[in-house]
Amino acid sequence: MQTDIEALRAQMREDLKKVDSADTLKNFWQEYLGKNGRIPALMKDLRNVAPEDRPSMGKIINELKNRVQESYKEAEARVKELELTSQNEAETVDITMPAKIRQNGSLHPITLVRNQIIDVFAGMGFEIYEGPEIEDDTHCFTRLNVPKDHPARDMQDTFYLTDELLLRTQTSAGQIRVMDAEKPPIKVLVPGRVFRSDSDATHSPMFHQMEGLVVDKDITLCDLQGMLDELCRNLFGSEVRTRLRPSYFPFTEPSVEVDVSCFECGGKGCGLCKHTGWIEILGGGVVNRKVLENCGIDPDVYSGIAFGIGIERIAMLKYGINNIGLFFQNNIRFLEQFRA
């Protein structure tokens, strides 16, 4: 019997090596440890062993059984590992295959620029007011100190709906509505659509402006430049500077054009800035006393500054867009380049 046990032990070692799957593991179990396996068979054979040898023999068989059980456990762990590996291999994907997503949409560049400007001024305490797009003559012109015979009111420039009602040509109309509704201190932005009877490569009959207005005590031209410096650094980078130069708008006095140092060449001169080092970006000035008076605000107590930004102009500069028409064609291949 002793020799049988040794043979079995040797055989078991051989069989153990062949275990490499759940099936062979199961076979191994059945072969050695199952009900009709070899170990239980040895146990049965013990009856035939001389009684005096039984304890020692039993001990040997028990050791063998323990040994087999340990081996089984090791094999079981090995098989589990093998199976996990092969499962993982089977499930492996080509991670460079295209992703399954609904392509994200986008916000229009005009919305993006509008929001960026709003963010800058919201931090300075500006509220956002959106006035009507269909305006009356009074708000769009008369109370903004645009006299009856001013060329800006000509049928050539303004879309009229009736003698009195028109499509606003400028968001400045919103200034009046704000000053009618609120008393100083006022800090407000008026973004929105404006309309002019003009259409070519650089003009669209509809475009967007953002008006800014501050009315408070002791507001000066220096504050206008300070505010606009902040805006320009935010839009075009911390390196840019602004420059004021004289201009004319009926609703501001003094009036200025604001140029920003060219962010493309740093002011050295390039195609974008037409080799001047500066890019014209907006107009503004000190609110005309008559405009304050027209809104019941005492110009001897309060002063104001105002500016008007063309959103398309900023978007064109910021994103390098060269044709205003692209904003309104809504070609998806154009729109999808902007992020939401």
Binding site: L107, I128, E130, P205, D216, D223, R245, P246, V286, N331
Partner: protein, 808 residues
């Protein structure tokens, strides 16, 4: 406004280059749009003399000349020419080898008929000049320079013919009509450079006899604040002198004769439009400024006939109009070669009146555009005196004492302002020294009297734009320099709370949501045409047709204010398909304009609408419905859907969106007939699958409740039951859902998870499987309670909808 550098220098001793002056003008408010160097493109063209000429053999018109261009360029150059007007001793412009001429022409020495020609002798035309720029420039042949003392051999031709000049094209802002003249700009330059201004001569002597029969009166003083007239007799109409022709030529005008040229010159120099009437053709020698009578006619100098209206101001003689005031003279009283006596008109007309008449008649002139910008009364007097001086200087007539000054406003005194220097600094925000301000204002011809810091400022008469302290502040800072402004960050302003309000933030939230759903934001024009509504089959009596019309649209395509966004959306979808974009999702959030009445009697209802456009092979009714549902989720509104009919949507694939019992929009597939009519390629499979949604965003937003509370979670046991129901094909999911939820208070949700049709069920029938959630916020739902609820649900389904549990 054009400003020739040479002409400017007649009034101001400019000692800087044109480029430097450009920079200085820019910084004080005069942007030079273009700096035109007249000699641009001309190089290596010098004065030469033909010393010898002989006919070139084998040709019938070419001459071989020996040309002396001075020691620097060659005293014996062989040059061939075919010009007919050459002679030995002729002094002519010579383009040397390598010379350039206007238009990019390059001259090279080359062989002509076997003989080397070392350049080209030029005509005036080849140099780009006219007779007015240089006498004889337009003759057929070479420009002959003989007799010109400047034409020394080898000299640069630009210096000889006056092309060594620069023209500034300056953009003048609307508040500075006084700078729409050479003198006005010279005044600015003098101030800028702190140099004296040499005023043009305006003195003259009376040499002619008066004519007491002449009369002038103004019957419409509101439209003609000032009317000056002066009688000149014994006219001697001739050519103008060379300097005057050159002035006109530099400004792009052709010389006509001395009288006409004087009026044009005065317009350019002083900025004052003038007119000269041939007095022989002014009936009754009487001038009357009045409104035209209805139907009155005039033929202007350019031989156009106009029928007039009482809004038009005219200058009339005793019987008829002889000029359209401020716009153009009449053909009937034109100055001609034999005109013997004239009446000068020098007037101020209301700019609005001139503009309206000019636009209404479609007749625009240099004069009318000057009046539209504004002509001051100071210029009126100055202009007339200058013109009379020129009459005398050019010796072309006898100035008489017969003169008229009809003025509605007798006060021609200068305006005065009071100001304190600190008021000016308060506008600017910096400290400009008082002496500096006074100096600047003095240079700009303001008078300043200082009474212990209280200034009395006398405004020059040509500065009608100056009204108060802020204007003075602008004058000071534009001369002092905007680079002195020190940016401050609202140093003294009150702290305020800023940012978007809830309505504005919700719109942004919606836009971000839609972008997350794959929509690209579109921006389209607010106007379109009735044809765009036709394309969507919108019926003639539909409310969308009640749209506001623009009185003066750019074109019929952009003539009505939109009442719905869908037509704009469909247009851009079609554009995208035509551009090869076969799928996409677009949205626009924008105003529609709903009039309360037409014709418009008050401001309309402008309300935000949201339009979705979805197209492509992957899309269907339910992907679009998914986007609508997402809007419901982000707004916190529970949308329900009802079948609806919309002219442009498929009758079987259209839903109305209902929120809180109110219809807030529609969506669906584009109707087959509408799709058919779009000019899309027949084989475009994607173009056939277009969906539109239009929602009343203003109404939706008004329903949003931002002050909502959370609902406590239900800790009690819920039960779920799956029910497969067989019913008639016409029964809808919505009906079954509603029926289940109504049948038992425990039923809180009924969710469809399968639809099946097949032979074993029978034609015209379908099986729909729902998971029903049974829940009670008070207690656990027991099996028994669930059993009872399901029983009740099934009996209701059978009774109301004929739906039965499917038997396996």
């Amino acid at each position: 406004m054009k400003l020739p550098f040479s002409w400017l220098k007649e009034y101001v001793d400019v000692d800087i280059t044109p480029e430097e002056l450009e920079t200085r003008l820019f910084s004080c408010g005069f942007e030079v749009e273009e700096l035109i160097h007249l000699s641009e493109g001309i190089s290596r063209v010098v004065v030469g003399e033909i010393t010898h000429m002989e006919k070139q053999e084998g040709t019938d018109h070419l001459y071989l000349c020996r040309v002396n261009c001075g020691p620097e360029y060659g005293e014996d150059l062989a040059i061939t020419t075919g010009a007919p007007n050459i002679f030995e001793g002729a002094i002519v412009p010579v383009a040397l080898d390598g010379a350039t001429l206007p238009g990019g022409i390059v001259i090279k020495a080359r062989k002509m008929h076997g003989i080397m020609s070392n350049g080209m002798m030029c005509s005036g035309t080849e140099l780009g000049i006219t007779d007015d720029m240089y006498p004889g420039a337009e003759v057929n042949g070479l420009l002959i320079l003989n007799g010109d003392p400047n034409a020394t051999l080898g000299r640069d031709i630009a210096e000889v013919v006056g092309l060594d000049d620069t023209i500034f094209d300056i953009s003048i802002t609307a508040n500075r009509p006084d700078c729409q003249s050479i003198l006005g700009l010279a005044r600015e330059v003098a101030a800028l450079l702190d140099k004296p201004l040499h005023m043009p001569a305006t003195d003259y002597e009376i040499t002619g006899e008066p004519d007491p029969e002449i009369s002038v009166r103004v019957e419409a003083p509101d439209l003609c604040p000032r009317y000056l007239a002066h009688y000149v007799r014994n006219l001697r109409i001739q050519e103008s002198p060379r300097w005057m022709k050159r002035h006109l030529a530099l400004m792009g005008l052709r010389s006509i004769n001395n009288i006409v040229d004087i009026t044009n010159h005065t317009l350019l120099e002083i900025g004052q439009p003038m007119h000269a009437f041939d007095l022989d053709h002014v009936e009754g020698k009487s001038i009357c400024v009045r409104r035209a009578t209805e139907g009155e006619k005039i033929t202007t100098l350019d031989e156009k006939e106009f029928t007039l209206h009482p809004n038009n101001l005219v200058i009339c003689d005793a019987k008829k109009p002889v000029a359209l005031a401020g716009i153009m003279g009449g053909l009937n009283s034109e100055i001609e070669a034999d005109t013997k006596e004239l009446l000068f008109e020098c007037a101020t007309f209301a700019r609005d009146s001139v503009r309206k008449t000019s636009r209404a008649l479609g007749q625009i002139s240099d004069s009318s555009s000057r009046y539209e910008k504004g002509v001051d009364q100071f210029g009126t007097e100055l202009g007339l005196r200058r013109a009379l001086h020129l009459i005398q200087e050019l010796d072309c007539g006898d100035i008489t004492p017969t003169a008229f000054d009809c003025s509605a406003d007798e006060k021609h005194e200068c305006m005065t302002l009071t100001a304190r220097p600190e008021q000016i600094n308060k506008v600017l925000g910096i400290e400009v020294p008082a002496e500096t301000m006074i100096d600047i204002l003095r240079r700009l011809q303001f008078g300043v009297e200082d009474h212990d810091g209280e200034w009395t400022v006398t405004v020059p008469r040509f500065r009608e734009d100056i009204e108060g302290v802020p204007d003075l502040a602008e004058e000071v800072i534009r001369e002092y320099g905007y680079d002195h402004i020190v940016p401050t960050f609202l140093a003294k302003a009150a702290v305020t709370n800023g940012g978007m309000n809830g309505y504005q933030k919700r719109q942004m939230t919606l836009k971000h949501l839609l972008a997350g759903q794959g929509f690209h934001e579109a921006v389209t024009l607010s106007f379109y045409s009735a044809a765009d509504l036709d394309r969507l089959h919108i019926p003639a009596d539909a409310p969308e047709r009640k749209a506001i019309r623009i009185l003066n649209p750019i074109s019929e395509n952009l003539s009505i204010m939109r009442t719905t966004l869908a037509p704009s959306m469909l247009n851009i979808i079609v554009d995208n398909l035509k551009n090869g974009n076969s799928e996409g999702r677009l949205f626009e959030l924008a105003n529609v304009y709903i009039p309360y009445s037409l014709p418009l009697d008050r401001m309309p209802d402008e309300r935000l609408a949201l339009c979705l456009g979805v197209f492509g092979p992957e899309e269907d009714f339910f992907t679009v419905k998914g986007a609508i549902e997402a809007i419901g989720q982000v707004t916190g509104l529970e949308f329900t859907y009802e079948r609806a009919q919309v002219s442009y949507l498929h009758p079987g694939m259209t839903a109305a969106v209902i929120a809180n019992g109110k219809r807030v929009g529609v969506f669906g597939k584009l109707a087959n007939d509408v799709t058919e009519e779009l000019s899309l390629a027949k084989d475009d499979r994607t173009g056939r699958n277009i969906y539109l949604a239009e929602l009343d965003y203003a109404a939706i937003d008004a329903m949003i409740d931002e002050n909502y509370h959370y609902r406590p979670l239900n800790d009690h046991v819920e039960q779920k039951r799956d029910l497969a129901l067989i019913c008639d094909e016409r029964v809808t999911v919505g009906e079954i859902e509603a029926c289940i939820l109504q049948a038992s208070p425990l039923a809180v949700e009924a969710k469809l998870f399968d639809v099946y049709r097949g032979k074993n069920i029978g034609a015209g029938r379908k099986s729909m499987a729902f998971t029903v959630t049974l829940s009670d916020r008070e207690k656990d739902v027991t099996d028994n309670a669930a059993q009872k609820a399901v029983h009740k649900i099934l009996s209701n389904l059978k009774f109301k909808l004929g739906a039965e549990l499917r038997q396996e």
